[in-house]
Amino acid sequence: MPLITASKTQPDYDVIVIGSGAAGGQTAYTLTMGGAKVLMLEAGRNYDPVKETPMFHTNVSAPLRGGSTPEKPFGFYDATIDGGWQVPGEPYTNASEDPERQFTWWRARMLGGRTNHWGRISLRNGPYDFKPHSRDGLGFDWPIGYEDVAPYYDKVEMLIGVYGDNNALENTPDSPTGCLLPPPKARAGELYTQKHAKKLGLPVIPIHRAVLSTRQDADTLPQKLHPGNPKAQRVLAQAMRERAACFWATDCGRGCAIKANYQSTTVHLPPALATGNLDILPNAMAREMLVDDAGKATGVVYVDKTTGEEHRVRARVITLAASSAESVRLLLNSKSARFPNGLANSSGLVGKYIMDTVGAEFSGQIPALENLPLHNEDGAGGAHVYVPWWLYPDAGKLGFARGYHIEFATGRNMPSAGTAAGLDWLTGGSYGRQFKEDARRYYGSRVGFAGRGEMIPNDDSFCEIDPAVKDRWGIPVLRFHWKWSEHELRQAAHMEQTFATLIEALGGRYATRPKADGAQAIHQGGNIIHEVGGTIMGSTAKNSVVNPWCQTWDVKNLFVTDGGPFVSNADKNPTLTIMALAWRAGDYLLEELKKGNL
């Protein structure tokens, strides 16, 4: 079973998985390794990082020196194709015109979705993060705890390959021996920050990223991950042997032709295909799910984007892994006499409690980093260190609930559009030979800090079907409602002040003052591309859309394995947790299939 076209679909599958990113990739991997026959529907085209990644291309070879445009918002060489904040012909709307109440929705219509370009930051939620309401009375608790997810964090880390180490810090879980790959050495600016941040009580520790700092142990990991399943072990060992270790060059955001970092297309899909149990149908835009008289899901209607024709495919089980908001859209667009408000929506909660991450950035220039001897700082194509949230003891005293971690941007990066630009505040406007001297002097001396913090779900942030607007396929689109609470706004202001203080502690300077107004500092909703929620998980059919196994309460052969079931959105980047929950849901789904319960 391979990559197929619409005419090649089988009459029946065990499971249809809609989406091919972190959630779809992990779900299809788990199910096919477990023997289920799976059809994966992907709305974008087939994409092969081995053949398509511009490894080693420099910006002189790209239009506009690789700079950002609406067609390639993260720059020309970013792996995302047919995606961005706007996808031609596939709009979404906002209910409010207030600029502070906009939600921006990043989509990537391509095989592997957003995993092709993501930052690869792979942090575990901690025990507190599953029970936030119990700690401060805000938001909701998850019906599961860290101990339920921990074994799956272990498995995902071993499967995809994550570098990092253990620091025994509060609510920042350690991984068992054998899960993590060794972290790369820190860069100059990272080490310098580590030393001076101590004065402020900020712990600078190795970050966890899904990059192979060494090759995976293909001799032992497959047995650990698939005990008693020799075929899965064999398939996985082969897939692991086809991945090279990082060679410390080229930005991870381009994707990776040598498969050294995780992207669904290089890590999840090859072994899933090798089982012979997976069909992948690209260019298939799911429109709605079908149900029978008994209220069971029977299949999916999709539009073949290559012909514009509509087709139906059938399966015993359907799993939504289309990204949290796209899955909401599919559920709400699947209306029938039996489910007049959309599928799995008896609680009325489909689309409710969507969350993004609180984001604010601040940067400065550090004289100590000027004129450093030449050295190569490409490293793992992303940060090597970070600061986990460190103020747990101050909870209740900060004016906002929850916390944030700090990501770093330092180093002597590959020059791009913008390199040596904007130096006027340092140089007094030099030009000529003096400018060339200044460019050499200041290159690599800039540090940037990005706060990534927890948003608390609220009643004003949700999405629904727009009553008027349809996409080019005639499918009704989403309309977003968005509002940050005081917690998020104050947190963003706290980030700016903290980063300014940190830059001062490094002996640095900054061009503009930190923003005291959180509403000025915070990114628009959706900007951090960590949108989760909308099909929240809970302990009863009244208070949630899915049960603790990501199975919808109303339709038992329908699952949601993307970020939709998130009940809270900890500061930790969501992708690792999405994969852990998807694997856990996949195991349960296989058991239920075997028992004949689906």
């Binding site: 030449l374 050295h375 020059p415 030009y431």
Partner: protein, 206 residues
């Protein structure tokens, strides 16, 4: 720049209508029908300015841009000048691009280049490109730093700031420019060694 600002700029800059007509107006209208590279361009291809959308500098604009690029980044012992590395073509590509940010930069650059010639004519009775470096410097010293520029030079200074940023972007992304600024990466390595002992010493990290 909105319409009112544009008119103000024109009034400030239009010391010589004749010069403006010769160098300014020909290419001030955006390249409305040009198309971008789309959402799925070939990422492996090597692109040159002009490959995706047409370049639009007039000969006069190109001549002034070449001169200004080399005032900002002249040759020195470490690397060639900006024009020797085809930076003016990159700036032409930039201001000819059919995207909102670039379309916003376009009138700033076009009008700024025209202003340079007007100012050169006013002070020295020749175009900017025909001045000797010392004369060019006399003009650029008045516009090289926005906070210090006199009121009558503020808008020209904003143009100069934009043009310097573009010149730097174009220059430091070339192989020669990357070498000059001290970028030594984009090389596969068997291991990542971290900063050298010399770097650590200099930072007080040993």
């Amino acid at each position: 720049m909105d319409r009112r600002d544009a008119i103000k700029w024109m009034l400030t800059a239009a010391a010589s209508v004749a010069v403006l007509n010769r160098t300014g107006f020909a290419a001030t209208s955006p390249t409305a029908d040009a198309e971008g590279y789309g959402t799925d361009p070939d990422l492996l291809k090597e692109y040159r300015p002009g490959d995706v959308w047409p370049l639009t500098f007039t000969d006069a604009q190109r001549r002034t841009a070449v001169a200004l690029c080399d005032v900002i980044i002249p040759a020195d012992s470490k690397s060639p000048s900006a024009s020797a590395l085809h930076v003016p073509e990159f700036i032409d590509e930039w201001i000819s691009a059919p995207y909102p940010d670039q379309q916003k930069d376009r009138p700033v650059v076009i009008k700024g280049l025209a202003w340079l010639d007007t100012e050169a004519q006013k002070r020295f009775q020749v175009d900017f490109a025909d001045l000797v470096r010392k004369q060019q410097t006399l003009i650029c010293d008045d516009i090289c730093h926005v906070p210090k520029a006199k009121t009558e030079f503020k808008q020209a200074a904003q143009f100069f700031q934009k043009f310097r940023n573009l010149t730097a972007s174009g220059f430091y992304t070339t192989p020669e420019g990357m070498k000059d600024i001290g970028y030594t990466g984009n090389m596969p390595l068997p291991e990542f060694a971290g900063p050298t002992p010399e770097v650590l010493r200099k930072l007080g990290l040993t």
